[in-house]
């Protein structure tokens, strides 16, 4: 994301914040290491007078962090961020938040397609959805209280792509993949490059509002597995695989268990109307993911499009012998 932002010459200063040191060094961007609740946000905003905050750290996968930490990050982190942005004399004019369609839940009583203003039909049952719904409420309150600040909330569908690892991608990369017996839900995905492009799109154009971001098309879980060449293993729909070890064995966090029953579809016309064009369809995202995975398997390593090697990089950047404009 930061790399992409750096290409925009209009950006004066780019400031990265995170709990880990970034794996790829930035060119123009600076980096501040923070704790997970963004408690130093207030000071940073004051000191740097930033005008745009991109909040992309929201956790949408409950298996990646402990429950307590997720609440800290999604709710308290968002709260601190908004508090800093809304403080008296704040320079922040635009906040972009990366959220998830998980806020709609997944239940039998759901409509086929969720629009941005469609309410959930089922009570919040799991921790990640609770945290996201809570953060959603914070954003809404903030937008109401600070009409001078543009607030953009992007709700992304399940992300698949070349690099990202999620419970869904982990399941699909195994020879067998869980499904729930008798259910074959329709899922909608978004390709990971489209995620970055969507964030850039709203940041650069300064578009406020609430948008669903998901690629065209929905496909049944069986078809997803088919594209990926994995065999579905049906689990009993009545088995209590809320039992922790079993859920972990199959990489089935609570939010995925519901999704594998009833699926979810969202209306993306509002976001497309802002002038955004997707690079991939849902099926295309699945294919991109599995093609990258096959390549990784057959070469036996992680052929990410680029692996960072500090010395080589320094050479390319600063050595006078590298001819600018030459094909490196």
């Amino acid at each position: 994301m930061v790399q992409a932002l750096e290409t925009d010459p209009r950006m004066d200063v780019i400031l990265g914040m995170g709990t880990r040191v970034p794996s790829v060094p930035f060119e123009r961007a600076e980096y501040v290491r923070a704790d997970q609740t963004y408690s130093i946000m207030n000071r940073i905003v004051k000191a740097t007078q930033v005008d745009t905050i991109l909040h992309t750290f929201m956790i949408t996968d409950s298996s990646s962090v402990p429950r307590r930490a997720m609440h800290e990050i999604n709710v308290i982190g968002t709260m601190n961020l908004l508090a800093a942005a809304g403080a008296a004399g704040s320079s922040v004019r635009h906040i972009v938040v990366k959220s998830s369609t998980l806020v709609y839940g997944s239940a039998a009583s759901d409509p086929n397609t969720f629009q941005e203003d469609t309410p959930r039909t089922s009570p919040v049952k799991n921790s990640v959805e609770r945290a996201l719904v809570e953060a959603d409420g914070l954003m809404r309150d903030f937008a109401e209280e600070n009409p001078g600040t543009r607030v953009t909330v992007l709700r992304f569908a399940n992300v698949l792509g070349e690099h990202l690892t999620t419970p869904i991608s982990r399941n699909l990369s195994r020879p067998v993949c869980p499904s729930i017996f008798g259910f074959d839900p329709l899922l909608q995905f978004v390709e990971e490059d489209d995620v970055v492009r969507a964030l850039l799109h709203v940041t650069q154009a300064g578009i406020p509002g609430l948008y669903n971001v998901a690629a065209e098309g929905r496909l049944p879980w069986s078809e997803v597995a088919n594209i990926c060449g994995t065999r579905l293993v049906p689990l009993s729909p009545y088995s209590p695989f809320k039992i922790r070890p079993l859920a972990r064995l199959f990489d089935l966090p609570a939010e995925l268990q519901d999704l594998l029953r009833y699926g979810r579809g969202v209306d993306t016309r509002r976001f497309s109307a802002t002038g955004f064009a997707y690079n991939a369809t849902s099926a295309g995202a699945v294919q991109t993911f599995i093609r990258a995975l096959r390549l990784r398997r057959q070469t036996g390593k992680q052929p990410l499009s680029y692996t960072y090697e500090h010395d080589v990089e320094q050479f390319f950047r600063h050595s006078p012998s590298v001819v600018s404009g030459g094909d490196t």
Binding site: A108, N112, F181, D193
Partner: protein, 293 residues
């Protein structure tokens, strides 16, 4: 804030080396490597074709279905089909869907309670063969945005759970929701009177306590079970099916309104109900035999 730093030349920037595809790659629609033909409603034309092949003998040999006024159903554009509902496992829904798809060659989506979605296997089969949960948002999307045919039974389970003694007595038509949706979507309502479904699987007795315990809408003891044993749970009697399509009802109101007059909705709903009731009585007057029509 002032930043004194120089902009880095494009070519030496990390993004020039670490490629990120941020430009739109496709001028037109991106490629879509789908393997199945399941649409966004979960309906699959292939599954439907298979289902039609299997159901055809039941439709034409067992029920010997006859239509009247099928030409009143439009070959394009959205319309809301409304019919009476009967039989413990109602055969009217598959007969109407099969008949229209066979004769007109266009899909019909059957709206029903979302309860079906919660049942393993059955829920998936239901969706693949054109079942959609009956929510106003779904009906609107089908009728207005996609201009499809949607079939709805406004009586709901009140129609299918009535006992044989109440046969052909239409129940209350819900709260008139189907009229409101047709108004909002700007499509006509086409009533279809069905005769035969009542006798295909008549309910003699209902066991409400057992139904509650099993979480079912109703638990019937049907004549079929008494006559055929376990097979009777699913097998209907070979009653003669006759369907009559009534003239389409259009509402003279603008679509996409926030609200529609509740009294107007109830009035239209009641009018459609009595029209259906009247033509059912009319068809029954002409019927000489339950089995031979």
């Amino acid at each position: 804030m002032a930043s004194g730093r120089q902009f880095v030349d494009d070519k030496t920037r990390s993004t020039a080396i670490v490629p990120i595809r941020i430009a739109a790659e496709h001028a037109d629609a991106p490629e879509d490597p789908r393997l199945s033909d399941v649409d966004e409603w979960g309906r699959s034309e292939r599954t439907r074709t298979l289902a039609r092949a299997l159901y055809e003998p039941i439709y034409s040999k067992w029920f010997r279905t006859e239509w009247e006024g099928l030409e009143k159903i439009p070959t394009e554009g959205g319309a809301l089909l409304v019919a009476n509902h009967a039989g413990a496992i109602p055969s009217d829904a598959p007969v109407i869907m099969h008949g229209i798809e066979k004769e007109l060659g266009r899909p019909v989506y059957g709206l029903a309670d979302f309860f079906f979605r919660t049942v393993p296997v059955l829920g998936t089969l239901w969706a693949r063969t054109g079942g959609v949960s009956a929510r106003p948002a779904n009906a609107y999307r089908l009728l207005k945005e996609q201009q499809q045919l949607a079939l709805v039974f406004p009586e709901g389970t009140k129609g299918t759970s009535k006992s044989f003694a109440d046969r052909y007595q239409l129940r209350r038509f819900g709260r008139g929701g189907f009229v409101e949706i047709a108004m909002r979507a700007g499509v006509p309502v086409i009533p279809i009177a069905v005769v035969g479904a009542e006798e295909a699987m008549p309910i003699l007795l209902r066991l409400p306590t057992l139904a509650r315990a099993l979480g079912l809408p109703y638990f019937p003891i049907t004549a079929n079970v008494l006559a055929m044993g376990p097979l009777g749970v699913v097998a209907p009697f070979p009653a003669k099916f006759k369907l009559r399509v009534l003239p389409p009802v259009s509402f003279d109101v603008p679509p996409d309104q926030e609200r529609y007059s509740k009294s107007r909705i109830m009035e239209e709903s009641e009018r459609i109900r009595s029209q259906l009731q009247e033509s059912i009585y009319d068809m029954l007057r002409d019927r000489r035999s339950v089995w031979f029509g």
